[in-house]
Amino acid sequence: MSEVSDGGAAPTGAGTPPEGWEAPRERWLSTVVSPAFGPRSVLLEVAVRLLVPSVLVFSVFLLVSGHDRPGGGFAGGLVASMAFVLRYIAGGRHELAAGMPLRPNTLLAGGLLLSGITAGLPLFSGGALLEVVKHTAELPVFGKVKFASYLAFEAGVFLIVVGLVLSVVAALGARMEAEEEEARAGRRRRRARSKGGPR
């Protein structure tokens, strides 16, 4: 994408850096980048590249540790979706599409299914709706580990939150960007046509 900021105007002062000085020369993200706001920035791209995996791991940590420490499915889901939002801000909508593990609708459906099944499963063994089954095991490396069915329920919540945020970002962010791009392309076409007309 050669098109860089149309609002920047021509730099006048001698001290101002040249336009596009921030743009990185290496590729840091998985798609050709056209960020959501303003020109490309090497700082942002490198930071996102470094941060996203750790943010995702942290979100899973929040999900798993939720029962004994602050966290849980809702907070974990928010953190995970923040990772995708970061990618979107740094890399634009194609980066968002590339980074999405699944469509938002699939995430929503999967999350609902997971928590619904977890809720209903105890009914079959004669338990109450949403009854929690748990089991503590001694694992070689991790020591004493607790498994409980609410983790599956929380994972469902996690997926739904990620799906919610992604669909809102896709709707309010990416879609608007695409529309703007379409409008810009249309304007360019019209300009080209009117220029070519008289010749």
Binding site: R69, G72, P104, L130, A171, L172, E182
Partner: protein
């Protein structure tokens, strides 16, 4: 009992059918017919016991406290219906295997929906609880909506599907009210008990009228008949199944089911006979002028449904016998005829009478079988239709029907004879139109149909003949059903020969007049053309739908002004007007005691004061800021400060969530800000501004005051303390999360469902259906997308990714 299991088997089969269709193509319909065959075989196995007067029954408890149970009961009427729904249904499924091509769009969905429909219909005819019946009833409406709208790219199909759904399911709602009234009046929701000891009184009368409305809509009675011809856009096997054998019989079935208990309750009989007769005449008259063979059959079905309705609802011994006979006869011949039209359409590519000629020579077997079915429809001996019609004429002979005054039975008999003349004429026109050699028409070129494809209509046509020649085979079913009525000492039997009787004479008149009507069809056509067009029922439907739209639009226009300050103002004003005034009143008359001053502390830790100052400063600054972006940042600073307050009070969980939500909302709002002007529009000082300041100030004061009063008005110990022990027991040390995911998990589940719904709704509102397209664009250079063309449907994409 096996029945609930068989119904469940239909649902299970529907689940595995789409992949099966992908693997086998249309041949999967053969596998899909397995549950139907099973149901029919099961019903046949039960038949000896049922006919001996021992209905098979079973019960699955569902909501016993409300009288809602899945009761099933197989008696003689249900047996006949199961044989139609599952037996004839299975034949139609076999036929579908030859009818559809593998390339048919959405074939898997069609097969699955048809199987689901078969299961729901089986439930309708065997349910013995009003609520269970209603649920299966509406399931058939929904599946029929999907089936009629199968070709969802055609606007006509979508419109017809919606029309059928709105009519049948829309009038299903008053029927549900009628069911509740009936159950309340009778003290039970079991149909068999209600019919055995029917309740009386005005409530029961109202209930019956409402139930009849639902049954009339389902069975396409005038003036609600318009949806049935419209639904002919469905694929022909669907029409053969839904609109001949199964669904449209639902209303007739319900009337026949309730008639033994309620036929003598006014105004049951008057309504059923009047609407049935009107439907019979109108359907026959309309059928006479159709050019499309399928539409001709559709109007013929309307006419026959009127016939079945008045027989089923009449409520006498002979009419009950006739109703059972006609029910089976109609299921057999109408399904055979629809399938015949399907074969013709499939091979020649047209269903127009004007374009078909000479098919008699090219498809002789089909022509003979269709001839048998047509003769059954026309009521010619020795076919089943004749046997049933004889019984029907007998049922309304003056003097024989003690349930009706003489003038009424004379009127009914005249009407039925007239309608039968029309029926004969359109039957003759059907066979002539489909098979006869018409001079001056170019013969269509086509391939002969495969033998297996023609087998289904031929088999059903043959059955019409077999049962017509040997009606004794069906008589026990009819007798067992009619046993609920007084037989006046001389029970009527289904038979070919009753001696030289009045009905036989009437049949001769019908045949002669019908043949004349067919012979001079050119004149009849001219008369029909010259007749003034009466009020059209379909226009009434469109008028009603349009009125709903218009009202909804005008309400929306008045309520949704689109001004956010106005919405907020209304919300705040309501809050002040209702609870606010209540609070002031309680304070004035002393209902709400002011807390003693000493539990009001300045702060618990001086840090709180710092946070409060930050909050106040950012909030005021946000108010005074004219640039949107700056105002947004200030607002989120307020939010973060509140999170700080939570931390200070020892609620890290809450603080964490708030920080995350605050961050995300800020980011998302920034997306939106791109589309808005950089600054707020400046509001001139004046009354609107003053009012807003006043309102906001009052709302803030109210909230603060309420919080203070409410927290100090506690009389019981806080519930939170008791949770700590329980949380230890549940094995989680984070109390908040243990509550969310364990103690109150059902609440969480509900909220999560709301979240998911909101996500879908927001995306739809913003994108108007175009979200998938944006995400799917693979290349960096966006292709020139055409607006308004939706992306590929998600389900087909899913497997490819």
């Amino acid at each position: 009992m096996l029945l609930p299991l068989i119904i469940a088997l239909h649902a299970a089969a529907a689940a595995v059918l789409p992949p099966l269709v992908r693997a086998l193509g249309a041949r999967a319909f053969l596998a899909a017919s397995a549950p139907l065959v099973l149901a029919a075989a099961w019903a046949l196995a039960q038949a000896p016991a049922v006919l001996a007067g021992n209905p098979a029954a079973s019960r699955l408890s569902w909501v016993p406290a409300l009288g809602i149970d899945l009761d099933f009961r197989l008696d003689a009427l249900a047996l006949a219906m199961v044989l139609l729904v599952s037996g004839v249904g299975a034949v139609i499924f076999w036929y579908s295997a030859g009818y559809f091509r593998r390339s048919e769009r959405g074939l898997g969905r069609l097969a699955a929906t048809m199987t689901l429909f078969a299961g729901a219909m089986l439930g309708v005819v065997t349910a013995d609880n009003l609520f269970a019946l209603y649920i299966f009833w509406e399931l058939t409406s929904v599946t029929s909506f999907l089936l009629v709208g199968h070709d969802d790219r055609k606007e006509g199909a979508r419109r017809a599907a919606l029309q059928a759904l709105l009519t049948t399911a829309g009038l299903g709602l008053p029927m549900l009210i009628g069911f509740v009234l009936l159950g309340q009046a009778g003290g039970t929701y079991r149909i068999s008990e209600l019919v055995a000891s029917p309740p009386g009184g005005p409530a029961a009368t109202v209930a019956l009228v409402l139930v009849l409305a639902g049954a009339f809509a389902k069975s396409a009675q005038v003036p609600l008949h318009y949806w049935l011809p419209g639904a002919m856009v469905a694929p022909t096997p669907v029409s053969a199944y839904l609109h001949a054998a199964a669904m449209v019989k639902g209303g007739v079935y319900l009337v026949a089911r309730l008639a033994p208990g309620f036929a003598d309750t006014d105004p049951w009989r008057a309504l059923v006979l009047a609407f049935g007769l009107a439907t019979m005449l109108l359907g026959g008259w309309r059928a006479l002028r159709q050019d499309d063979l399928k539409l001709l059959l559709a109007y013929g079905t309307v006419s026959q449904l009127g016939f079945l309705m008045l027989l089923g609802g009449m409520g006498s011994y002979t009419s009950a016998v006739a109703a059972e006979g006609a029910l089976l006869a109609h299921g057999l011949f109408k399904a055979a005829l629809f399938m015949t039209v399907g074969v013709i359409d499939h091979q020649t590519g047209t269903r127009s009478i004007a374009a078909l000629t000479g098919l008699r020579r090219r498809m002789p077997v089909l022509a003979v079988a269709a001839g048998a079915a047509t003769a059954s429809m026309a009521g010619l001996p020795p076919l089943l239709g004749f046997v049933a019609k004889e019984a029907a004429l007998e049922a309304f002979l003056p003097g024989h029907a003690g349930e009706l005054p003489t003038w009424a039975s004379v009127a009914m008999l005249t009407g039925i004879v007239l309608a039968s003349v029309l029926t004969f004429a359109y039957s003759a026109r059907f066979w002539w139109g489909a098979f006869a050699v018409k001079p001056g028409v170019e013969e269509p070129r086509f391939h002969r149909p495969a033998a297996a494809f023609v087998a289904a209509p031929v088999a059903l046509g043959a059955l019409s003949l077999v049962f017509g020649a040997y009606p004794k085979a069906l008589d026990p079913i009819a007798q067992t059903y009619a046993a609920a009525y007084d037989d006046h000492g001389a029970p009527y039997h289904l038979a070919l020969w009753h001696g030289l009787s009045m009905p036989l004479l009437l049949t001769a008149v019908v045949i002669a007049a019908g043949a004349a009507l067919f012979h001079w069809r050119a004149i009849v056509e001219r008369v029909q053309e010259a007749m003034p067009r009466g009020p059209n029922a379909e226009i009434g439907y469109h008028f009603a739908v349009h009125a709903v739209y218009a009202v909804a639009l005008s309400v929306t226009r008045r309520l949704q002004t689109g001004s956010l300050p106005a919405y907020l103002g209304i919300i705040l004003a309501t809050m002040l007007a209702l609870p606010g005034v209540g609070l002031v009143r309680a304070l004035v008359i002393g209902d709400a005691p002011l807390p003693a001053g000493n539990d009001l502390r300045l702060w618990d830790s001086p840090l709180e004061a710092l946070v409060a100052v930050v909050m106040a400063v950012t909030a005021i600054a946000a108010l005074r800021e004219h640039r949107r972006f700056a105002a947004l940042i200030l607002l989120s600073a307020t939010g973060f400060a509140i999170a700080g307050l939570f931390v200070l009070h020892g609620a890290p969980d809450l603080a964490l969530t708030l920080v995350l939500v605050e961050t995300l909302t800020t980011v998302i709002l920034v997306f939106v800000l791109r589309r808005l002007p950089a600054t707020f529009s400046v509001r001139p000082p004046g009354w609107p501004k003053r009012l807003m300041v006043l309102l906001s100030g009052a709302a803030g004061t109210f909230v603060a005051l309420t919080l203070w009063l409410a927290t100090s008005a506690r009389t019981e110990p806080p519930v939170g303390a008791s949770y700590t022990g329980a949380a230890d027991e549940a094995g989680g040390r984070n109390l908040v999360n243990t509550i969310l995911a364990d103690f109150r998990a059902l609440d969480t589940f509900g909220e999560v469902v709301v979240l998911a719904t909101a996500a879908v709704a927001v995306a739809l509102l913003v994108l108007l259906n175009r979200r998938d397209r944006v995400i799917d664009e693979p290349a960096a250079e966006a292709p020139e997308a055409v607006p308004g063309v939706p992306g590929p449907p998600a389900d087909e994409e899913g497997s490819a990714r």
